[in-house]
């Protein structure tokens, strides 16, 4: 016959059992409540902004808004085709100027991080990503707008490209570093050269992440206003359709027409939003809300398309 022995420690915890349990439950639920409350606080502005923009902008959105350029101030109607086209032109130019050098620089940085050039590149991208975007605008104003004598979509594209460069270099570099090094060795062990390995093994493996980086950079750049103030100026009569028709009538070649498209002041969605919102005409203020909505949808669309593309690619890769 054995009496179950109770140690001194067991006696002590038995005595405190209820108090400890009560306290623990209280602290636990309190912390959970606090975390929930803060989550709510963080989510509210997000939905508020989205909801308010949809509410205010949705009232004005119609088909005309997308297919017409601006009417003279004070008149009703008209659209923001000029700003949509301008944004697309600037974004396209920015992508062309920033993606090829950004990707190649990232390959270099991932391959030779400790060479002088690699260190300089890392330092440069860090500094560049910290430079206020308006300073980049000012810089491009000084090196392009002043010498050329006029504002242009080209200058806007260069400013946006500079703005996108650090994001593209950094995300591409990070994605390349995530590719297992055995994959690289597998290719080199077959006798492949470094560039061949980078191009046909590393790049495809990292492509999803790299594309995501591009789109993040594009989405961020397409919402920027400051670098455009000094570079594209704004142009309410910018109309690519009209430029092409005009060019066709005058029998200009393709390069002349492209020149007209990029080498004149253009407009952009955020710039238009900013200008319209401070004009005394209620029509224009209403339009600026609609522009905000279009901008939001544009950025959202870029993100959704990117995700869809990456998903299908992923599925195809895994057979």
């Amino acid at each position: 016959m054995t009496i179950p022995s109770v140690t001194r420690f067991q006696q002590m915890i038995a005595r405190n059992k209820d108090a400890v349990r009560g306290r623990r439950r209280f602290v636990n639920s309190f912390m959970l409540f606090l975390a929930g409350l803060m989550t709510l606080a963080a989510v509210i502005p997000l939905f508020w902004i989205v909801g308010y923009v949809i509410y205010k902008g949705g009232q004005y959105i119609n088909l005309d808004f997308f297919i017409h350029t601006a009417r003279p101030m004070g008149m009703t109607g008209g659209g923001v085709l000029h700003a949509i086209e301008g944004t697309l032109v600037i974004t396209f130019l920015a992508a062309v100027f920033s993606i090829p050098p950004g990707v190649l620089a990232a390959f270099y940085a991932a391959r030779s991080p400790n060479t002088p050039l690699g260190i300089a590149l890392r330092f440069g991208t860090d500094v560049l990503s910290g430079v206020p975007s308006i300073v980049i605008g000012l810089f491009v104003y000084a090196i392009m707008v002043v010498p050329m004598g006029h504002y242009s979509g080209l200058a806007g594209g260069v400013a946006m490209g500079i703005l996108m460069l650090p994001t593209i270099i950094r995300t591409t570099e990070e994605m390349l570093k995530l590719v297992p090094h055995t994959l690289r060795e597998g290719s080199l062990a077959l006798g492949a050269a470094e560039w061949k390995t980078s191009l046909s093994v590393l790049f495809p493996s990292a492509l999803n992440g790299i594309i995501t980086g591009f789109l993040l950079a594009i989405a961020r750049a397409s919402g920027e206003t400051a670098p455009l103030l000094f570079t594209v100026l704004g142009n309410e009569r910018y109309d690519i359709g009209a430029i092409i028709r005009n060019g066709a009538v005058q029998k200009q070649n393709i390069f002349q027409i492209l020149g007209h498209i990029v080498n004149q002041p253009v407009d952009s969605l955020p710039l238009t939003l900013w200008k319209y919102a401070q004009q005394p005409y209620p029509e224009r203020v209403a339009q600026s809300w609609a522009v905000a909505l279009v901008l939001m949808i544009f950025v959202l669309l870029v993100n959704i398309l990117a995700r869809l593309w990456i998903e299908t690619r992923k599925r195809r890769m895994q057979g």
Partner: protein, 260 residues
């Protein structure tokens, strides 16, 4: 003729340093043609470093320095004027973890041949079938050659990597623990295919698995670190001798599992 080619690779006084640290010290041994040579030893004793010396993969490590000679058919692969691409074509490698490229099965196998300028479609198709058959994978994948190599199971992926290495018709195949990430059945398949292909190739395998070394290899090299933490080859002999009658007490302790 037989005697001239009996040794595919001869290693003479090989040392590898990483900066000041000597990882391998004074390795001397010979790898016999058309035989499987296993390299065994505890973790960190330089097995992989030694293996990676045979196709100059150590060149990729920034501060690695190789001294001594590695003679492939009598020619030092580290000599001036030797084309590293040529060395790597003649000495293929299979890695610890399957590392198929994110490409189709077909393109994984043709990756090597394409590097050497083979572009003709039917030539490439022929190489694909031959290599996959050698790697005992053909029957499983012949109907899905254009699916991603990543869609295969781990064991199949590893055999795909073997096929990829075989596609450039190397003379020596280096295997760095090729089955350590695989299940027993996949391991068995790899071991069987090693037996099948060794007629045409010379195989050097690093393994942690003593039974595997005993099962597959003809010769075994036992490595261990000395008191300066440099890897040394303490015994090299017929696999039978290493596992039944080793000369060195440390080898005996290691192969019988008594090693601390």
């Amino acid at each position: 003729m037989e005697t001239i080619n009996a040794n595919k690779v001869e290693v003479k006084g090989l040392s590898v340093r990483y900066g000041k640290f000597r990882a391998l010290a004074e390795i001397n041994f010979a790898v016999r043609t058309n035989k499987i040579t296993a390299i065994i030893g505890p973790s960190g004793c330089g097995k992989s470093t030694l293996l990676r010396s045979f196709n100059r993969m150590n060149d990729l490590t920034a501060n690695a320095r190789v001294t001594g000679e590695i003679l492939l058919d009598g020619q030092d692969i580290n000599a001036k004027g030797v084309d590293i691409v040529d060395v790597r074509r003649r000495v293929g490698m299979v890695f610890q973890r399957p590392n198929p490229f994110p490409k189709s099965i077909h393109d994984n196998v043709t990756y090597g041949p394409r590097l050497y300028g083979i572009r003709n479609r039917s030539d490439l198709d022929e190489i694909v079938e031959k290599s996959l058959r050698q790697a005992a994978l053909w029957d499983e994948v012949k109907d899905k050659l254009h699916q991603s190599g990543l869609s295969l199971s781990g064991g199949q992926q590893q055999r795909l990597c073997i096929a990829r290495a075989l596609a450039v018709e190397p003379e020596v195949i280096l295997m760095d623990e090729p089955a350590s990430a695989l299940d027993p059945i996949s391991t068995l398949k790899i071991e069987e295919l090693m037996h099948d292909i060794v007629r045409d190739y010379t195989i050097i395998i690093v393994t942690h698995n003593m039974q595997q070394a005993a099962r597959v290899s003809d010769f075994t090299a036992m490595m261990m670190i000395d008191d300066q933490r440099a890897g040394r080859m303490i015994e090299f002999n017929d696999t039978n001798v290493i596992f039944t009658n080793p000369k060195d007490k440390r080898t005996e302790d290691y192969v019988t599992g008594r090693f601390g």
